[in-house]
């Protein structure tokens, strides 16, 4: 079984649309993250949740809204998609906030046309 799974793997959509990416982890971790990796492979954290509570919220446009219905899930909803949102989005989880061993999903490649 995949430890951190995110869907869809590929997402192609037009500007202005609203889309969601789902993430689930079956590791029993209490902390989950969303990272964005741009075309130059630069990886930057967007959000971090611990026990369903928002812990880290980096300078991300408010078009991006994470939702954590329970500890095992952290979904990412994006409104009014823009060309610059095209990237690979990675979900990750860890046990505890200060645990640097992150387990990553395989990524969602978002292409905004």
């Amino acid at each position: 079984d995949t430890a951190v799974s995110q869907t869809p793997k590929y997402l192609v959509t037009q500007m202005g649309n609203d889309k969601s990416i789902k993430c689930e982890q079956n590791l029993g971790h209490d902390t989950m993250y969303w990272y964005k990796q741009d075309s130059k492979k630069f990886l930057k954290i967007m959000f971090s949740y611990n026990n369903k509570e928002l812990i880290i919220n980096e300078t991300v446009p408010n078009r991006f809204s994470p939702k954590s219905p329970d500890k095992a899930h952290l979904n990412l909803h994006i409104n009014s998609l823009e060309l610059g949102d095209s990237a690979v989005y990675f979900c990750a989880s860890s046990q505890g906030q200060a645990n640097e061993k992150l387990f990553f999903g395989s990524g969602t490649q978002l292409s905004v046309l």
Binding site: V4, T31, L43, I45, F90, Q97, E100, G107
Partner: protein
Amino acid sequence: AQSVTQLDSQVPVFEEAPVELRCNYSSSVSVYLFWYVQYPNQGLQLLLKYLSGSTLVKGINGFEAEFNKSQTSFHLRKPSVHISDTAEYFCAVRRGASGNTPLVFGKGTRLSVIA
């Protein structure tokens, strides 16, 4: 603010040759340092980390890194690489142990092992 600089964006190396991937960090306080590896079409995996203690850290797959405080470096090394080591390698830093300070990643170094 803390930042991570990976000086080489690409490193080609022949199979069974040694390799060193360079990483420098900047921070005014003590930091925790990490190396992650990303294989094609996969998420990142932790290779090794330095939190405290011995400055030479051994990780998975035969990799090791040395923390050098005076040079603010945390270079990754492997004495003999394999084709399967071809991947993107990311150095990362966290300031202190607080979970409210996120991991900051470098821009990555693409290691290409040539047969």
